[in-house]
């Protein structure tokens, strides 16, 4: 019996070895074809997965913050967290799987450097993570919570909207949880489907009391994250997960701040204002250059950066100049944040038209 078993095992291993080469050719898209036509040459069938196309456009190397280093987005996040924990002895980082470095490597090395009481795993419970973070912040210590994917932030919605956002107001400023920051991977990655791709910023935009920030690049991410951590209000920092590796540029090693609630005009133009945030900024930049090349249209590109409280003045000022506005985002259209921007700008532009300021007599259109 043992001999039979051994022989069977030997045969299986042999078959596996032989099959390996045969099967290797059928990976990915070519697999189905391999089943149907096993003898066909399959170099042409070995296609890569089709993923959404965009090209990350790095910003020029920043000169005013000292020495820089090439970092991708997750490394720039690690750098910001490292700076924070070094500067602020009360700061702690917690969430699911942050101890070993995190599923996106954002917290690599921090537990070894700062200790297991400062960088630690929590049980798998988003409402607990945020509630726990609020409690730390109430005592005045700095709490940096991680929600593993923005798609899973909803169990914590009550704690964020009913508790964190309202802590200061409802207590008459006796108590607050301003030193809470929630970080979460956000947005499309190509293969994420329903539950690893969401952009939930619009749900939180409707909630006064919190700030929601979305960077477009490693340099922006570090400066904005540091500002969120130091901000005296609870902040949600969404990190475009597709940029974790795909975006790399020179980022200062030392800490620096990029102000919140300030949009950035990254390209000046005269014919139309394009507004986006996160990954979509790079798509829009490409659109701007295509428009210039093919249509002769001069686009002003704005990265909103902070979703709430958002920089109404910069966007409105731009639309006064160009007379046209296009907003592009990943999230669903209905009730998406573009609707807030467009309605506010239309209210503003209606006002401009009503007062008939001759300088700004252009017709206004919003897309």
């Amino acid at each position: 019996m043992a001999v039979v078993a051994a022989a069977a095992g030997w045969l299986l291993r042999l078959r596996a070895a032989g099959a390996e080469g045969h099967w290797r050719r059928f990976r990915g898209v070519g697999l189905a074809r391999g089943f149907l036509h096993p003898s066909a040459t399959v170099e042409d069938a070995a296609q890569r997965r089709q993923v959404a196309h965009f090209t990350f456009q790095p910003d020029p190397e920043p000169r005013e913050y000292g020495q820089t280093q090439k970092m991708n987005l997750f490394q720039s996040v690690t750098s910001a967290l490292d700076n924070s924990l070094a500067k602020d002895p009360t700061a702690v980082i917690f969430g699911e799987d942050v101890a070993f470095g995190g599923v996106f490597r954002c917290t690599v090395g921090l537990r070894d450097k700062y200790g297991k009481d400062r960088v630690f795993n929590t049980p798998l419970c988003e409402q607990g993570i945020v509630g726990f973070g609020i409690g730390i912040a109430v005592t005045g210590a700095t709490a940096i919570a991680e929600i593993q994917f923005a798609d899973y932030i909803f169990p914590a919605f009550d704690q964020i909207v009913n508790e964190a956002a309202k802590y200061r107001y409802r207590s008459g400023d006796l108590f607050n949880c301003g030193s809470l920051t929630i970080r979460s991977p956000w947005g499309c990655v190509g293969h994420g489907a329903l539950y690893h791709s969401q952009s939930p910023e619009a749900f939180f935009a409707h909630c006064p009391g919190i700030k929601v920030v979305i960077p477009r690049s490693p340099f922006q991410a570090k400066g904005l994250l540091l500002s969120c951590i130091e901000d005296k209000n609870p902040c949600i920092f969404f990190e475009p997960k597709i940029l974790y590796r795909a975006a790399a540029e020179q980022v200062p090693i030392e800490p620096y701040n990029i102000p919140l609630s300030q949009a950035e005009v990254i390209q000046e133009g005269s014919d139309v204002t394009l507004v986006a945030w996160g990954t979509q900024v790079h798509v829009i930049r490409e659109v701007a250059s295509m428009a210039k090349e093919k249509l002769g249209v001069s686009c002003e590109v704005i990265d909103l950066r902070t979703i709430i409280p958002w920089d109404v003045d910069t966007v409105c000022k731009s639309v006064i100049k160009t007379g046209r506005l296009l907003i592009s985002h990943e999230a669903p259209l209905t009730g998406g944040f573009a609707s807030e921007i467009s309605s506010t700008v239309q209210m503003f532009n209606y006002a401009i038209c009503c007062v008939e300021l001759p300088l700004y007599g252009k017709p206004c259109s919003i897309l």
Binding site: T90, V92, D117, F120, T122, P123, C125, Q127, G128, V130, G131, F132, G133, I134, G135, I136, A137, V138, T139, G140, A141, A143, P155, D158, Q159, N162, E163, K166, Y167, R168, Y169, R170, S171, G172, D173, L174, F175, N176, G178, P208, G209, K211, K232, N233, S261, P309, V312, D313, M347, F348, Y350, A351, I352, C354, V355
Partner: protein
């Protein structure tokens, strides 16, 4: 260990190395350590053992199929010190509190009771919008508060006013919050009984239930890191304990080793829902061991039992950095709130039993009387005095104006963002034009008029067009 070696002889007769291997692999006390030590450690992986190797549990194998029967007929026993007549049952459990402290316990409970009666009535008369009484649960508040340090942080639900009363929160401020007047530290923003006091380390109450539980755990973790020698106490009812946040809080406290006391007031009802519809297990105390939490059930109407349990829990929570769960059994004598009429779902007889036969105030009074620390005359004098104090604070609160409408917009963020400032200015202009339709005479109006009069025909500024 000798048993293991004997077992090895029976099971593996041909493996000469077995005994030596077992001696090497069996770390004495490793499994014993996992059982007795409060933290469950990962067992070392040893592949030659026939013992379970699963990282998820420290347990032995069993070859008999048997479901564990939850024990609800004879549940966790209820610790008490006094009987229903206020007599000490076991003298060794008497905390022997000094007279002043016991009198403070008594006066806090009775003053709270008096304030409850007057404020409940004031809601009935339309003077305040809403109120919640604490009838029957006063013992849980003061017994626990007395066992804490004054700097221990308190997270409550909404029926813990006695904790603030014990910490000498002035009647004026209780009333100010209920009236939402200009003296309210909360700036008149919340419904009545949503008290908060930074000075007395009582975090402001919020309406959503159980949200305070994981927050209290976070605060305890921060206190541990700060070596503050502080405990955090978190109060909640048996109904709130059904919320997901309660589960989250318990689990986090245990895994992250936080110095926190979870204090559950099991008063029999969550509005109209009796405990038989709230849970099927043995109350809240039985859940503690499931999380690895030290747990106890006490008679919540026995101030000394509550005191003893809280005192010991506090000492150990701080010393050992672990959570404690106290389930204080009590009864909600009053309605859930002024919006509730509990005769719709329970009998008057049931309520009367608790009011007459098992009330924390009566039981402590009997104790005081038997000690010779109180008598009928003092009782009469104190009733008169406490009523007078409450009425004075009440009349003062009535007369004060409401907070400035500008305070609708501040503290949303630490700094006021541009959009909110525009909304604030818009309201100011609205009140200028339509103020006669609002009861502005009851409000503090200082600084409200911030724009010039627009009755002159001039082009309005841009901002006014956006926010008319």
């Amino acid at each position: 260990m000798a048993v293991a070696i004997a077992a090895a002889r029976v099971w593996r007769p041909n493996r000469g190395l077995s005994q030596a291997a077992l001696l090497l692999l069996w770390r004495p006390g490793a499994r014993g350590l996992a059982r007795s030590h409060p933290h469950r450690q990962q067992q070392q992986f040893s592949s030659l053992d026939d013992k379970p190797q699963f990282p998820g549990a420290s347990a032995e194998f069993i070859d008999k199929l048997e479901f564990i029967q939850p024990n609800v007929i004879s549940g966790i026993p209820i610790y008490r010190v006094m009987d229903r007549q206020g007599q000490i049952i076991n003298p060794s459990e008497d905390p022997h509190l000094p007279k002043e402290k016991v009198l403070k316990l008594y006066k806090s409970m009775t003053l709270l009771n008096t304030m409850d009666r007057i404020l409940y009535e004031s809601q009935r008369q339309g003077r305040i919008s809403f109120y919640m009484t604490n009838y029957g649960e006063e013992g849980t508040h003061v017994g626990s508060a007395a066992a804490l340090d004054n700097t221990d942080l308190v997270f409550g639900q909404y029926r813990e006013a006695g904790v603030l009363m014990y910490r000498d929160y002035p009647l004026e401020l209780f009333m100010a919050q209920c009236y939402g007047n200009i003296s309210d530290l909360g700036k008149g923003r919340q419904m009545p009984v949503h008290y908060g006091c930074k000075e007395r380390h009582f975090v402001t109450i919020s309406s959503p239930l159980a949200t305070q539980i994981p927050q209290a755990v976070g605060a305890a973790y921060a206190a541990k890191r700060a070596n503050a020698n502080r405990v955090v106490i978190c109060y909640f009812g048996e109904g709130a304990a059904s919320e997901g946040d309660a589960h989250a809080g318990f689990n986090f406290a245990a895994t992250l080793e936080c110095p926190i006391i979870f204090f559950c007031r099991n008063n029999g009802y969550a509005i109209s829902t009796p405990t038989s519809e709230q849970y099927r297990g043995d109350g809240i105390a039985a859940r503690g061991p499931g999380y690895g939490i030290m747990s106890i059930r006490v008679d919540g109407n026995d101030v000394f039992a509550v005191y003893n349990a809280t005192k010991e829990a506090r000492r150990r929570a701080v010393a050992e950095n672990q959570p404690f769960l106290i389930e204080a059994m009590t009864y909600r004598i009053g309605h859930h709130s002024t919006s509730d009429d509990s005769s719709a779902y329970r009998s008057v007889d049931e309520v009367n039993y608790w009011d007459k036969q098992d009330h924390p105030i009566s039981r402590l009074r009997h104790y005081l009387l038997s000690q010779g620390w109180w008598d009928e005359e003092q009782e009469k004098a104190w009733r008169k005095q406490s009523r007078k104090k409450v009425m004075e604070a009440f009349e003062q609160a009535e007369r004060k104006p409401k907070p400035n409408p500008n305070l609708l917009f501040s503290d949303v963020y630490q700094e006021m963002p541009a959009q909110l400032r525009k909304q604030q200015e818009s309201l100011a202009r609205h009140l200028q034009t339509y103020g006669e339709h609002y009861p502005l005479e009851h409000f503090d109006k200082r600084g409200l008029q911030c724009f010039p009069d627009f009755s002159t025909a001039e082009a309005p500024p841009l901002a006014r067009m956006i926010y008319p």
